[in-house]
């Protein structure tokens, strides 16, 4: 964000000639001007991407790969990660961003209804939940039912954060399942000792051994953390339909070039990276 703004500020005193290769008048207003072809407006060479913290590793890899692609035409990515809720509120408060990625459709729909997005955001990957435990497993958890035992220290997020949303959905399904029984969700929720800011913080608290368990995306169990953790799988019938959604923001400074990154995320190259990081790809 800072880089984009600084470039704009530096241009003003130096004059037009120093600014763009095109030599056309730099304009602060990025909305397409009626009558002018959008390509005539020089767009910044950076795309600011706000993405859910679960995308940290995958998008960082894309930030290396994407600029090397011909379709990127030298476009660089500036990434900012956080809970999808937090990022949406940043957008509402006028954070300059070209692309918003949310780990659930609920947050994206809130952004769309608030008029923060343009076009129709698209689903580009899916995910599923697993339960993550510290390797030493002090609490001695072996099955999902163990999560309801009193005294277990669980970490979660608030319900609005996508991973929390999916966790509550899974818990509701468990409570409706005769194997776990009505009230199971309440037993599990009573064990929550901390509501972390995002899924990454849950992973960290478990990895450090502070918490006994947490519901996280399967994509979080990267080779970097596997030496420190174990997992309990959640059967398909209890899974919530976790999906990652991406779109161009209404206030994008690069509205013409921003869709190129979204196309890239959907492309075989982007999907390969996502798959490698444990996401369920669409193809």
């Amino acid at each position: 964000m800072k880089i984009v703004r600084r470039t704009a500020l530096m241009c003003m005193p130096l004059g037009i000639a120093a600014c763009g290769t095109g030599g056309s008048t730099p304009t602060v207003d990025v909305r397409p001007v009626i009558g002018a072809s959008p390509a005539a407006t020089p767009e910044p060479k950076e795309l600011v991407v706000l993405a859910a913290s679960s995308l940290t590793d995958a998008f960082n890899e894309m930030a290396d790969d994407f600029p090397r692609r011909p379709e990127a035409a030298g476009l660089r990515l500036i990434l900012s990660f956080g809970a999808s809720t937090q990022l949406r509120i940043q957008l509402e408060q006028g954070a300059p961003a070209d692309i918003y990625e949310s780990a659930d459709d609920a947050q994206m729909q809130l952004a769309v209804r608030a008029g923060l997005m343009q076009g129709t955001p698209t689903v580009f990957a899916r995910n599923r939940l697993v339960v993550v435990l510290p390797k030493e497993n002090r609490a001695g958890l072996t099955t999902l039912s163990d999560l309801g035992k009193p005294g277990i220290k669980l970490v979660a997020t608030v319900r609005d954060v996508p991973v929390g949303n999916y966790t509550y959905q899974t818990l509701a399904k468990m409570a409706a399942d005769p194997q776990y029984g009505a009230g199971f969700d309440q037993k599990v929720l009573a064990n929550v000792v901390s509501e972390e800011a995002n899924v990454r913080q849950i992973v960290t608290k478990v990895q450090l051994g502070e918490a006994d368990a947490g519901f996280v995306y399967a994509s979080e169990i990267s080779p970097r953390i596997t030496p420190d953790v174990k997992t309990i799988e959640i059967p398909e019938r209890l899974q919530a339909a976790a999906e990652h959604v991406i779109g161009v923001t209404r206030t994008a400074r690069a509205p013409v070039t921003a869709p190129r990154f979204i196309d890239y995320v959907h492309s075989p190259a982007g999907q390969t990276i996502l798959k490698r990081h444990g996401f369920i790809t669409l193809a």
Binding site: A83, S194, E195, E196, A197, E210
Partner: protein, 265 residues
Amino acid sequence: MSAAVFAAMLVVLLLAVPLVALTWRALESGALGRAARSALAVQALQLSLLTSLASLALALICGTPLAYGLARLRFPGRGLVEALIEVPVVLPPAVAGIALLMAFGRRGLVGAPLADWGISLAFTPWAVVLAQCFVAVPFYVRAARTGFAGVDRDLEGAARVDGASALAVFWHVTAPLAFPSLLAGSVLCWARALGEFGATIMFAGSFRGRTQTMPLAIYAALETDLGVSLALSMLLVIISVATLVLVRVVVQRWEPQAVTNDTRS
């Protein structure tokens, strides 16, 4: 000259504009009433007051002898202790959080043996108090040490000659004379504990009524209800300013009468 005035004005504006903006947006959001009724805000305020006062109590009980010792005694390692109480003042809170985890976390240096005994600090109000003490107690100790060092030792000597015990001298002579420093240190310590965020969220986690203090509640509300977040922020600003004003008034009016009465009668 005008450049200097402009530069000075920039600083004043930098400090004033965010506070004005915060207050304005908080009032405009109409969330003050909603915040006052929200369980999030009420529980956070209760927890913040409880934990910050507990931290202050610990600072007074344990920090006072330390400050006195640093001001009056020569002992081996004194320089090291003096350096040590400066560290948390300049340490980034995130570093404090990680350091506390490495020490008192379940795999920590002290935390691991404690965990074997079945004692776990993380995610409890005790963890909050520990984090607050780590960052805030040095503020009290530094101020108190300066206060004690400034007390005329002849007055203390005279009281001893008159037969007062060491504790009586401290209570009736040293402490009243050092009172403005002790008060200023206490307030700084309390305010720092009240505002503690980084170390708390990393070490104690965030849970309503248990570890979610005001700053953590502000952060949590930012994700769900910006208005409540603004209202809580404004409340913290009011508490901070009110405390500063109160201290100024008390220190200005303070006359160490106890000294005149007790040593001359």
